[in-house]
Symmetry: C2
Subunit: 197 residues, 2 copies
């Protein structure tokens, strides 16, 4: 249904898959063209022919809409490894993550989101209260398997995930995400050793 | 000497301690009033009655001038501990650092600098190539003593310092720097255990 101004009418809290796909597609192409700095709900709505209230109902902030795309692209680019060793899994993940950051616009956009979150409380909430827990949840399977194998103590998982995030973010924010297999292997080894039962 | 417009003339690469102190005092009071967002070399020069070229010769960017003040304030606020145990030293340091970040304008300003560095290459260079190495150098004594006591392997110091930075920055950027002694103790213990010889 159109509202006579070329926009689909709002369908309420229940998402319409076609509208959702149109919004995501418009948002992804805008991000590729303009980066995070040029990314706005207004422009996404215009390109998708969608109503702004609908977009805001689904993604409460620009940061949330970006995170939806970033998570989907990351999940598509990076498979969760299962090599039978936590150190090997984490080396594989770090390498894949840094490659993803270096070779797609996502790395720069994610840096921009972290930067924005330092002055914008809504972006900080999206990053800290929605993105980080979702992502920790996805990583959890790798750590849970390590617990099952007896490699690490279950009580250490939370702190280990935090060290893992801190290591990767520090490198991203310092723009030091070139391949660095020796340093990565050592840092990963230290985290895993430190988390042993 | 004045140049007739109420400014001290440039004294070249050799710093004049009185001028330097005037610039630092002006910069510190501007930071307290306006935060990092309102901090500029132009305004510092005006308040200090100093020439901009002189300031730029001493501190090539706004980020460098901020870092000079931040490092001095941090060094005054946080003594390097020497408790005889690396885990105890690091717990003491994390607690003092987070308290410093929470209770002075420095925490917010440092967050703003990290944010700025994501889009401003000169600020990134100041942060990555000057601040981080200087700060690692100051921390080094704590880690070197741990090596001397045989607590950690010398080859692990670099990676350990990086994990330590990553942990603190992640918490600062997520604005999760409230007292959290149990989590801090666990994260510190894991880093130290992982770095054992």
């Amino acid at each position: 249904m159109a509202d006579g101004r070329g926009r689909r009418t709002s369908i309420g809290a229940r998402r319409n898959p076609a509208s959702e796909a149109a919004v995501i597609a418009a948002a992804r192409s805008l991000l590729q063209e303009k980066g995070y700095a040029g990314f706005s709900i207004d422009e996404v709505a215009r390109r998708a022919g969608a109503g702004k209230p609908t977009i805001y109902r689904w993604w409460p902030t620009k940061a949330d809409l970006f995170i939806a795309i970033y998570q989907a692209d990351k999940a598509a680019a990076i498979a969760m490894p299962d090599t039978g060793s936590l150190a090997r899994d984490l080396r594989t993940l770090v390498n894949a993550l840094w490659t993803f950051w270096r070779t797609t616009p996502s790395g720069g956009a994610f840096r921009a989101l972290i930067a924005e979150a330092q002055t914008n409380p809504a972006s900080l909430a999206a990053l800290r209260d929605r993105f980080v827990p979702q992502h920790m949840c996805r990583l959890r399977e790798v750590f849970d398997r390590a617990v099952e194998r007896g490699e690490i103590a279950p009580d250490n998982v939370e702190a280990l995930v935090e060290l893992y995030f801190g290591f990767n973010w520090f490198r991203l924010l310092m723009n030091r995400i070139d391949d660095d297999p020796d340093h990565v292997a050592r840092a990963v080894q230290m985290m895993v050793e430190g988390a042993r039962r």
